[in-house]
Each structure stands twice: as structure tokens, then as C-alpha cells.
Symmetry: D2
Subunit: 346 residues, 4 copies
């Protein structure tokens, strides 16, 4: 089984390129440049649709069951879910669906479309499932704040219909590959959607981290912590720590310090070609922890190196035609961006 064939139409201001994708793998990164708009055109009908939900709510299960019935009524479409959801659907609704099986990384699984029914966290879950090549993801907002979720449940049937049959607007969200290197061995290798965060945890002091860019020493971090974020992550933790807000279409790495000891450590932005290395000193009185998209918290040891670079596999999320409009709608909804009570005329 393989993913359905499709073309990627990338439009720059004056140029359009068309890539025919045989193996369903969408590559990103510097080597392909940054198009203004990316459009997927199916060359074969998409067959395999993965439905993701957070378990625990009967209401959501009901909706998943409804969507499953809607999808399975279509010729040639197969629904997949995660193992537990499979049994939930069977027990509660007597619905039979396939199971997303496989090892930790489902990148090679023949999924053509992922639909997430929940909050931003579920999009992050999709990121964990597909650490390498990711299928396109339709993020549907289900009652949550949903910063990254431009599609509402109310319109879900026409939306799914459109995504399965027409051209699909995509945002190729840059991801970061994060590796912990200990004694010249890679002991952890993860791809994040938002950020990798090094912080002091409950220790009163963070170790002084030496920070390198492409092997070049740049500065030493004395702070509560340091956030290395994608543009998608710029509106997550990095924003709380004072970083700028970056359009999800940019390819760049943000380095945002958390409570730096120095008055002059302003947030930094590096090009996507940058490989950032944070080196734990060998003689630490203090400690450092690292977490990835707010999870997988992990203690860094003396001499450990955290290496962060652009992943070659972006996360292709379905968006409306106008990504910028989606972005500002989310900024306004979630953060009251630039909101101010207007003076009312007398």
C-alpha cells in the first residue's frame, strides 16, 4: 500500500512549479525555497483517511462514528483510527474500521489524509505519529480554543468532500529535528512542530549553555531557559517569553531566552539552514531539562549536546486559500491581538 499520487503546485510571485509526487512524500526545507502558496492536486483518489481524536468523551466518539459512516459510504475510501478508538467504535457503535498499526513512526504508512477532531494538542499528536514524511492533515476545531485549527465542525462534511475531491490549499509547516548527543552517540532524535525548550526546572540555576550556530560559537545563555521554536511555535511558548509573532509561511528558527540574566539578550531569528547546538558544560553545579512540544521531558547530563535543525519533512496542514487571514483570525481569537477599546463618539 502506498499513498495516492498527487501533484504539488507551488506558486511564487511570478513563477509556478509543479512537482509530481509519486511516493506521497512532501519535502520542504531550504532546498525547495519558500512558495507563496502551495496547492495539492490529487492524481489518484485518496483512499486512506486517518481519524484522530482524544479519547474520553462520548460526544466526540459519536462525531467520529458519524464521520466514519460518511467516509465509508464513499467508494474506495478506507477509515483508519488508533487502536483504542477502533475498539471504542466497535463497542459503542458496532462500526468496523482499520487500525493504524506500526512502529513509533508511521511515516511510511499509506495514509492519504489525517483528520484531527479536537484541539491544537491533537495536531501535535499527528506530528508525533508522522515523524518523517507526513500525509496532509485537516485540523478540525472541536470546542477548543484552536489556534491552529481553521476548520469548524459545523462545516465538516462539505469540507471533507472538498479536500477529497478538489485542489487542496496547504501550509507546509516547518518542523525542527532535535537530537540529544551524549558521548558522540545520538540518544534521542525527535521532530517537533512548535519548540524544544531547555530550562532549569526546579533547580535554582540553569547551567550556562554555550550556543553554537553551524559550529560557530555565538553566545552563552544564562537564563531560566531557552526556547528554540518554529514559526508555528512562535505563538506558543516563545510568545509568552517575548518573542515576535511569525507567519507560519516563513522558514526560520527562533531563539527566545526565558528570563535572561542579561538586559540585552533580545530574541534572535536564524535562517532555516542554521544548525543550532546547545552544549551543557562539563562541570555543572546546576541542571537543565529539555522538553519537546511541551512533552518528553528529559534531563540533560554534563557534556550533552542538543542539536536542532530544520527537518526535511514539513507538516502539510490544510488551510483556507488565504493563510494570512487564517493567521490573523487566530491571533485575534486567541490573544486579543492589538485589541483596544475604541473611543466611542459622544
Amino acid at each position: 500500500p502506498r499513498r495516492a499520487r498527487f501533484e504539488l503546485h507551488k506558486r511564487w510571485q511570478s513563477v509556478t512549479s509543479v512537482d509530481v509526487i509519486e511516493d506521497g512524500q512532501i519535502l520542504g526545507g531550504a532546498k525547495k525555497g519558500l512558495p507563496e502558496q502551495t496547492l495539492l492536486r490529487w492524481q489518484e483518489s485518496p483512499r486512506n483517511v486517518l481519524l484522530l481524536m482524544k479519547r474520553g468523551s462520548h460526544d466526540i466518539l459519536q462525531r467520529v462514528a458519524d464521520i466514519t459512516n460518511f467516509l465509508q459510504a464513499r467508494e474506495g475510501v478506507r477509515v483508519l483510527v488508533e487502536r483504542q478508538v477502533k475498539y471504542d467504535l466497535l463497542d459503542s457503535f458496532d462500526i468496523h474500521v482499520a487500525e493504524l498499526y506500526g512502529a513509533r513512526d508511521r511515516s511510511h504508512h499509506a495514509v492519504d489524509l489525517v483528520i484531527t477532531l479536537g484541539g491544537d494538542g491533537l495536531l501535535m499528536h499527528a506530528n508525533w505519529l508522522f515523524q518523517k514524511s507526513a500525509p496532509i492533515i485537516l485540523p478540525v476545531n472541536l470546542g477548543s480554543l484552536g489556534f491552529l485549527l481553521p476548520f469548524e465542525y459545523d462545516d465538516i462534511y462539505p469540507t471533507i468532500e472538498r479536500v477529497l475531491t478538489q485542489d487542496v490549499d496547504l501550509t507546509l509547516r516547518m518542523r525542527l529535528r532535535c537530537r540529544i548527543i551524549r558521548n558522540e552517540t545520538v540518544v534521542m532524535d525527535l521532530v517537533v512542530m512548535n519548540d524544544a525548550v531547555v530550562e532549569r526546572g526546579s533547580s535554582p540555576y540553569l547551567a550556562s549553555l554555550d550556543c553554537f550556530c553551524n559550529g560557530q560559537y555565538v553566545t552563552t545563555v544564562q537564563a531560566d531557559g531557552l526556547i528554540i521554536a518554529t514559526p508555528t511555535g512562535s505563538t506558543a511558548y516563545s510568545m509568552s517569553a517575548g518573542g515576535s509573532m511569525m507567519h507560519p509561511g516563513i522558514q526560520a528558527l527562533l531563539l527566545t531566552p526565558i528570563c535572561p540574566h542579561s538586559l540585552s539578550f533580545r530574541p534572535l531569528v536564524f535562517p532555516d539552514s542554521a544548525v543550532i547546538s546547545l552544549c551543557m558544560p562539563l562541570d555543572v553545579r546546576s541542571h537543565a531539562w529539555v522538553s519537546f512540544d511541551g512533552r518528553f521531558r528529559h534531563r540533560l547530563m554534563d557534556g550533552d549536546i542538543l542539536e536542532v535543525s530544520n527537518s526535511e519533512y514539513p507538516l502539510p496542514t490544510v488551510t483556507h486559500r488565504n493563510v494570512t487571514a487564517d493567521w490573523f483570525r487566530a491571533l485575534n481569537k486567541a490573544f486579543n491581538f492589538n485589541m483596544r477599546t475604541r473611543q466611542k463618539p459622544l
Copy 2:
């Protein structure tokens, strides 16, 4: 007369491309993507070298005379200067050189290399001279702070020798094309290296500016002003107003508000494909002025539109192999970036 032929070797993480440039025009922008490193390889010997200096100091004129003699001793090299400097060299040193003539935009002039001998302002002057296709620029620091000037006068002869004969590392600095549109007519059309700044001047109020991205309304600016900056300009005025510091190798537009009235107007970063339009309201009690790289201050009228977008002609400046090292050296020298007195052990 035309520019000398050369190749541009662009290196991404895993790919290298070679463009043979017949007409001396270096194009940039989204359509070509963002290489990690750009190298110029001469296919013909560069012939025409433009020396730029700020007039007024005999010391500097002396140095320009010395460099002129050094260059004119080379087979086939011709030195150009601006008109007044031509007469200064003639009067004080009896040196004959050619004059950079032509209309406001010298982009089609057959200059192969520009050497600026002064401060950052002189690099900005080179930007004004070549508003379209720009020759490569060697920025030499002469006594000033020199944030953008990685080359020192002390090493100038071997540096020039190297640039004329060997492969040249370049930073293709993104520029912004700024147009004022009044009654559907373009009344001003300029390319800036750092920023376009709209501000209230001595008026107590700035007009409420409606801000659009690619024709999409995004927000209304109520502030002392708004800065639209290149990554090169991120360490200029935008930094004072609280913007992040962006590596010069990134392609992006920064929107940094100056003293916004709202608590939640955080600096924004857009992709280089973004066309930003600021619209003056029709019924203004208040005023707005715009300036370009800190110059050409200009009053905006009711209904005026300031449109800012990526110029297709970057400013190719000569750098050391390691641009990031150059950048941090400048951050430390000019801004004491992240400097903090270390606790000395007893």
C-alpha cells in the same frame, strides 16, 4: 560597457546550484529560495571599481587616492568615483579617474565592484545609487561603529586583491521596494536596505493606519508609528522599538510598532512574498510622515497607500565565509549583546 561575467554558486544543505550570470544582474527573492551560502566566481576579470567615500575629510581622501593608485596599477582595472570626489582627487593629488554618471538609478552602469570607505551610511548610499540591479559591494570600516562593515581598512590591500581574483562570499541582503500610491498613481518608488518608517512626526496623533497583507486586512495600527524592516534593518530602528534580531540571511518582512496604544501589539514577521499596504484614512484629524532608511521624509496625504514588498534585486555585500560569525561580532561590538559581568571567583 557591461558588467563582467560571473557565476553564482548557491549552496543549500544538500544541494548546490550554479547560475551563470551574463548581464551582471543578481536576482534574489522568493523565487530563487534561500541558500545557506552564496559564492561568486568571476568568469571574466572585473574591470570597473567604484570607490565611495563621504566627502569632507582629507584623511579619507588620502586613503581613496592610495587605493586608486593601487587599483590603477592593475592591468585593465578602471576606477570610478562620484563627481565631486573626481575633482577632489584631481585638485589634491592630480589623480585622474572616471566619473559615475547617469540618472538617479545607476543599476545599468558597468560597475563590477563597489568599495565603500566609511560607515554604515555609505552602504546605504550605495543602495541609493543602485536601486535596481546592484553590483557586489565591499564595505570597509573607516573609523565608525560599522555594524554592517566586516572589513577593516588595515587589511584593505589583500582584501581587495582577494575580491578581484578569487571566489567571493556574498550575503544577498533582501531589500524592500516601497511605493506611495496617491489617487491610483505611483508618486514615489524607492528601494530601501533597512526600513520604511511611518510616524506621527510632531503631530500629537498618528492617523489610524489600516494594514493589509496581500490585499487582506490584518489590523489597524494606533501607535506613534510603524516600522517595516528587512532582516538587515532588524538591528536598526526596529531593534530600538523592541523587534527581534534577524540574521541577514533570512528573507522576511518585519512589522514593528513604535509605542503602540494597545498592550497586545507584538512585533510581526511576514514571509518575503508578503505585500504590505498601509492605508491612510480619508478623514484624518492627524498626520503621518514616512521616511526611507531614515531619509527622504515625506508627508502622507489622506487616502495615500504605502505599499511595501520584497525587491527582486538584493544588495550583494561581500562577507567573510562565516556570515553568522560576522553578525555576532557586530552584535557584540555595537550593542553589547547579552553581555553581563561574570561573577569572578574569590
Copy 3:
């Protein structure tokens, strides 16, 4: 004619003091300390009530006429207005009232109570009228945003009734005395409610201002400008420039830089005993302008000194019992302070 006698009851956490005020002068400043709560108790009935309005709206004039009738129906109460309003009331409503006459500073005028009917600007106008000893001021919100206006027009009659007959809760708002000294002569002497702002206006550069505290050199300001604000002014311009928000009950001076060139110029707060002097250099290539509460813009000359210190006469504004509640209500209403869309449960 003199102001009505009253007592000031000041309550600290464990101590209450009572001052009998014979001459109607409320003094503030360090010498009296900072009470948690200040209460005015009339010992004589207040007689003279000044109504302030911004001219131009017939609706407001109607309201002023109504209030005038209400007040003049009271035994022994006399209404005063500014000259033009006097004629407006006569022309439109055939109402006769007294006129607030006198020189620029009406501090010695026998006004017992000022009622402002408009926006924050009108409170500022009251500040200009009473540059020395100020009567108590009841700020009534009339259709404007009204950050400093805790009283609404809808309740105005019971509110006025209460202020004239019962104990009155006051906030003694600290004010700043600002003097421009040129060649050892005081050429301007003003008291502001919000701030004095030195800025570069339309000049590209601000002069480097040397900043002294109590005659002690503290730092040199290289910036677009510098704001010296009262706690009341902390939520005005200083807030836009990044300053902290200070409860109006504090006595302190804020120094908030506007777009400082240095990365490490954080806003500073000085005790109310501080006398801040800003000295213009003698050899200026650049310029500086100063304005007071956003008005009276004035060019600073070479060698000028702007001296700012706590005025001994605070501005006593009527508040509700709970000043902190008033303050946060205004922060929320005007600035969406700390507002964030809550995640709704599914």
C-alpha cells in the same frame, strides 16, 4: 472668599491622622507620607462648584444646564463655569452663572469642588487651571473611554449629592513640577498630571541628554525620547513605551525611554524625593522638543535644563472607596488588561 473648611482623614495600616484644613489647600508629597486611604470630611458646606465641559456639543451643554439647575436649587451653592460656557448657558438656556476668572493659575480661587463632564482630557484641563493648590475634582465620564473617570453620568445626581454632603474618598494624585532653565533663568514652570516628554520630533536624531538625579549624574539618554511620568501617567504614554503600570496611590517618578538605542535601557522608577534634571548638550547637531501632558510643545535650546520634581500640591480626585477596584476596572475597560480567551470545555 475662601474654600470651605474640611478635615483630611488619612488612614495608614494601623494609624489614622486628621488634619484640619482651614485654607482649603491640600498638600501632598513625601513630607506627609503615603496613606492607604484619604477621606475628606466637610466642616463647612461646600459653596462654590466649578463645572467644566468641552465646548461644541449641544448635548453636553444641555447636561451642564441640567446640573446647574440642580445645584442652584441647593441653598448656598454657587455654580461657576469658564467664560465661554457662561455665555453659552445664557444664550441657549437663559441660565446665569458665575465665571471662573483670574490669571492662569486659579489656585487661590474659592472653588470647593470641580465637576468635569467629559473625558480624561478635561481632567487634564482642571490640572492646568489649578497649577498650585487644587480643589477636589469629581471626574464624570461622558461618553468617552474615560480611563481616569470612575463616575458615570447616569448616576450623577446622587453622586453630586453625596460628595456635597458626606465624607468623600479621595486619591491624592501626585503631580510633577517641570521647569525649563535657560541661562540660569526659569523660562517655563508648569505642573503636569501625566508626564513631561522630551523627544526628537521630526529631527532624525535626539540630542544625547545627560540625566541627573538630585544633582548626581546617572546616565545619558540616546533614544527617540524620554518620558518622565507620574503613576497616573504610567498608563498613558509611558505604557506605550513599555513602562510598568503603577497604582495611582504610589508616589514615584517613572523614567521610561522611547526607542532607546541601547538594548539595556530598562524603565526606571525613582522615589518622589528625586529631582530629575535633563541637560541639553551645548553643541547639538540634533534637536529636542518637550511637551507637557501632550501639550505646550516647546523647543529645547542648547544648554537648556529640564528639571522635574514632585509638586507639593497633588490633584485630589474623588474616587470610590476602593481605588484599586477602580484602577483595575479601568485597566480592563481601556486596555483589555490580561484578557485572554478562555478555553471552553467541550
Copy 4:
């Protein structure tokens, strides 16, 4: 045994008060107001001098021994040290001194002067020893960064001589009393010099803390944490989190959020009369920890209340006549405050 009698001369801009202190207790707080300058005049010779040092360095012990000999050579002066230092002096130098005994709070101990020989941490230790009424403290800088330490070891003998025999300039540093209330019982009661910090520790979420001022609800904190700091603490953790820098002579409470989720949670400053209460919600999925001056880390339980208010006992530290000069010297030394490389003229 009691402390030596002295007078406190407090000088405001136009008034001086003299308090004769019989019991050696210096009170501060709102009830006494905020003098511009405070001077201690001995009415009896100070007798009991406590020397504080951090154990572990023979060099420092040597210096303590030297100072002990210097002091014990004076008629009527008695030296006290902490228990372990007493044995160190005996073992290494055969010097006999008295021991600071007693319960956790040595406030009633007859100490007239404390000399700290070390860094800022030792001043904090003095704060812990004297949680109620504190004797005057001479902070001597010993090799450390020493933000709060205006006196250098090189001048120590004339400095001590002066403090014992002449008028002493004091800064009455405001302190904060912090109480944890659980089920209406006070389970912790501490006085801090810098700050109380509530934070989420290694939990991914901080509980939403409801924040009250004098019993009035003001806002709900959603953040990594919240700092409640004294003006002395404004240049410690609060500064890293973005707070303003407050002159140590001010009396105020700072509320500085750490990485707030909202874009509009600006640091707040309250008057010293404010009692701030932070209430843990009853149904917490998340956690909160509190620490005091960076120590005594303590888990907060559901429903706990942290109540913070001005302590009536300030920390009287010896300063030079010009406190502001001391402060800016420290700002420059420790933080490169407002430092910027000047453009050198050519």
C-alpha cells in the same frame, strides 16, 4: 542586653524629623512615610558587632580574624559570629569570640551592627537571621559581583571606624512579609528582602492563580509564574522577567508575571499599603511552588493562600551619602545598564 540607643534623623525635602530609638528597633512602612535620607546618630557607643561570612574559604576566615582583632582592640566592643565560624576562628587562629545563639529569629538579640563579608547572598542571610527588627548592616563586597554591596574590603578599617563612631547613612530597605495560609491556619511566615516567587516548577502548567489586593479581586494569573518583589528585588529575578528597575528608596510592591499567556499582562506596581493574596484554586490539575528569596521552596496545596504585605521592619543597610549614585554604579557594574559603544569620530 539590649541594643545601643540611637537617634534616626529623617530628612524630607523641607522637613527633618528625629526619632530617639531606645530599644534599637527601626520601624518602617507606610505609617512613617518615605524620607529622602535617613541618618543614624549613636547616643551610646555600639558594643556588639556580628561578623557574617560564608564558610569554606581560608582567605575569608583570615580576613574575619583580622577584623575581629581590629574590633576587639576597641574598648567595649564585642564580636559575635555564627556557631561554626566561632570554632573555625578558635581552631585556625586561636581567637575567642561570642556566638550568635538563639532561635530562628535573632531579632531580639543585642546586635548593634552586622558586617557581611561576602556577596549579595550574605546580605540575604542577614535578612533570614533578623526576621523582625534588624540591626544596621554594613555590606562589604568580597570578590563577588556585589550588586547590593557598596563597600569594598580594601577600605574596610576606616569604613568600620566611621560606622562605629560617626553618623551613619542608611537605606531602609522595605521587606515583604509572606504567609502561607492553609485551612485558615498560617503554615509559613517569612520575611523576604527580594521576592516571593510562585512558579509551576517542572509541571507543564501553572495553576490559574486568582490575585487579590486588599481583599479586592484584581486579575487571574495564567503564566509560568508570578514574582512579588520589593524595590530591592526589582533588579533580581523581576528584572529578568521584564520588570522595571526601582530605586531602593521607594516603598512599593512589584507584581511581575513570568511568561504570561496573555499578551497584555504588563508588570504592575502597588503601594506599600497593598496586601496581595494569591489563591490556589481548589480543583487543580496543575501545581504551584513558592520560594522566598530563591530559597525555602515549598509546594502550594489546593486552596492555599499566599499573602504578601509590607513588613513593618525594614532592613537598614549602610550606604554612602548618595544612595542614587550607589545604585547606578551597581546597575552599570552588574548589568551594563544603558551601555552602548559610542561612535568614535574618525
